[in-house]
Amino acid sequence: MAESIPSDATPAHDDHHHEEPSFASKYIFSTDHKMIAMQYMFTGMAMALIGGFMAYVFRMQLAFPGIDVPGYGLVTPANYNSLVTNHGTIMIFWVAMPVLIAAFGNFLIPLMCGCDDMVFPRINRLSYQIFLLSAIVLLGSFFVQGGGFGGAWTAYPPLSAKAEYSLTPLGSSIWLIAVALEFVAFLLGGINFVTTAMNARAPGMKLYDIPMVVWMIVIASILFMVSVGPLIAGAIMLLFDQVLGTAFYDPDRGGDPILWQHLFWFFGHPEVYVVLLPAVGITAEIITVFSRKKLFAYKTVLHTAIGTGVLSFTVWAHHQFIAGIDPRMAHVFTLTTLLISIPIAEMMFVYIATLYGGSIRLTTPMLWALAFIGEFLIGGVTGIFLGASGSDIYLHDTYFVLAHFHYTFYPIAIIGTMAGVTFWFPKMFGRHMNENLGKIHFWGSIIPFNFIFIPLFVLGLGGQHRRVFDYTNFPDLSLPWMQEFRVIATVALLVMLGFQILFLYNFFQSIFKGRKAERNPWNSNTLEWTTESPPPHGNWPELPTVYRGPYEYSVPGRDKDYWPQNEPV
């Protein structure tokens, strides 16, 4: 095949085979998918620290209203709003998506599919550059006149549309532009992920031989791209309302603010699955390796994920039960929402069935993967109360909702990421992380996490509202015992944040000084483990051929309990 390259061919990845690449072309302007994955991962980590710092600041304000927060200072109501808004925005768009989809997608798709790079390496690089720009734009919005946008990450108009209400004339538009740039970055990335996984797989790798995490990232990318279209339309209309004086969402001038809610949540609900599915995929890789068992019902998991994706487009109005929608409509959306809990529950059962009877090794990544299943279950179960319109009328916009979605997002964005990072760390950096520190960090994150959000469930059931700056201003809405629960949550957060320092230490220390890793330290089957750690430029001297599916563990009659995908029969 290769002989037929005509003279005008420009194979992008060959650019710098010949001379030693300069620092800039190796680390900053690289088109290598592994480097772009690292760029996404480190940017995502930095943004996680910023988003976590914001949570620290407003949790301090909630537990000890009016104090000078160490490291920040006095929190004004406007500060509070913009911190909450940007915390939510950052955690979803600048942490969960870049790490789970872009970092793991970039790193794993070419390696697991046995090719040397993404099919569009330059578009891939552009994707990261736009993403970085979007992050800078978002953070920049804190320094303009009026400060960062404070109208909540859902940006409901007219609050978000009118400067008289939001008091952030510039911040709200900059926020919108930053989010739009981020969408462009993920569109470009998603095109690459889907095309690479479908078109550039190793010879012999059939559709049902693709590792689950690759499938999940591909499905997530498609979900994102399908759902984001209407939101882009809505965002342009919102920007026009803010900047050009149109009245798409202005009820005083014949506009319809509920229209935004539909466009937002038509995207917003599938977005939950966009970040969930990659975490589910990562978990699948880990639990099969560390229980030495075949994934129970591969095809079922895959088809369920696709079905969930389709269903996720039919549930959006469960966020709008009290927005004045027709109660008959509310019934329909209650029904679809309860339906969608079935496939997710099914996936969890599949995972438990995979674990059943396996020889389980409780390594750090395995602990994270198991915690993902357990904690996400709590998030899922509490969601049923919110999906049922009858109970949601009481619970809407309380801390019950808040605790519910943190019990989904935290397992996804933090636990899922930690599982993936600790699992693929040897491949990414060619060294091992310290297991003991890893386990201490695991328990130091999981236990406080529950101590943060269980009290918040209780507060929510007690009627405490979201997005309130200082409850002492509303003595009628809040009982004295509630303050103690707020303090518990905040103290637990401080403990959890403290343990993250341990993680950062372990992470960076191991990159440089960790125990050297071989090619396949976990005795895993998938292709990424068949090359060096870390993989060289171009990934393999000779690209692999695939002979079987990814989960052939403990096959009877073989002396080894694993069977790499590229091993000829």
């Binding site: 005509p6 078109n199 550039a200 149109t246 014949g254």
Partner: protein, 197 residues
């Protein structure tokens, strides 16, 4: 000159899997999926906005140029047809014969955009602006969004023409450009029907 099946191997070994769709075409199909949803969003917003209005079209606003735009729609469809003809020649390996239809596609497309621009100037002069009424807001939003897409796609079409002249239009590039342009052509009659009629 490259013949189908022998074009350069792309970076990630394009063509490694025999029988797959060219990468550029595949990537563009994925992108067009988003685009379809974008316009679906715009159309539903428009339909909801129109349904909520007390009177449609709003009083005191100029009438949209329904007939002239109908003619212009035919021009755009002709451009799409020319491209399909080029596609035929391309896949029969007759590069020389596809030059003429490619130029037609580009020329007719450019005419469509220019004529639309001319209509906009007239409408603005008659008092239909972005803020004059809900009709104005939605009109410029929806039609403007299509215009931006048409412009970008025209640039790509021009680039493909250039590559054709130089003798190295790949399967991948032609597939991508063709898909985008046919999307621009195909979505227009829908917009015309919803917005103008």
């Amino acid at each position: 000159m490259t013949i189908r099946g022998t074009e350069p191997l792309g970076p990630a070994g394009e063509g490694r899997r025999p029988g797959t769709i060219p990468n550029g075409l595949f990537g563009m199909l994925v992108f067009v999926m988003t685009e379809i949803m974008l316009f679906a969003g715009l159309i539903s917003a428009f339909v909801i906005g129109r349904a909520a209005a007390p009177a449609w079209p709003p009083p005191g606003q100029p009438r949209l140029p329904v007939e002239a735009t109908a003619v212009n729609t035919l021009v755009l469809l002709a451009s799409g047809a020319a491209l399909i003809l080029a596609h035929r020649h391309f896949h029969q390996g007759e590069r020389a014969r596809m030059r003429r239809p490619m130029q037609f596609a580009l020329g007719l497309g450019a005419f469509f955009v220019l004529f639309q621009g001319y209509e906009w100037v007239r409408l603005i002069a008659q008092g239909l602006t972005l803020t004059s009424s809900a009709l104005g807001s939605y009109f410029y939003l929806v039609v403007g969004m299509h215009a931006i897409h048409a412009l970008c796609a025209l640039v790509l079409l021009g680039y493909a023409n250039l590559r054709l002249q130089r003798g190295f239009l790949t399967d991948s590039l032609f597939g991508a450009v063709e898909t985008l342009w046919l999307f621009v052509v195909g979505v227009w009659p829908v917009l015309y029907w919803v917005v103008y009629l």
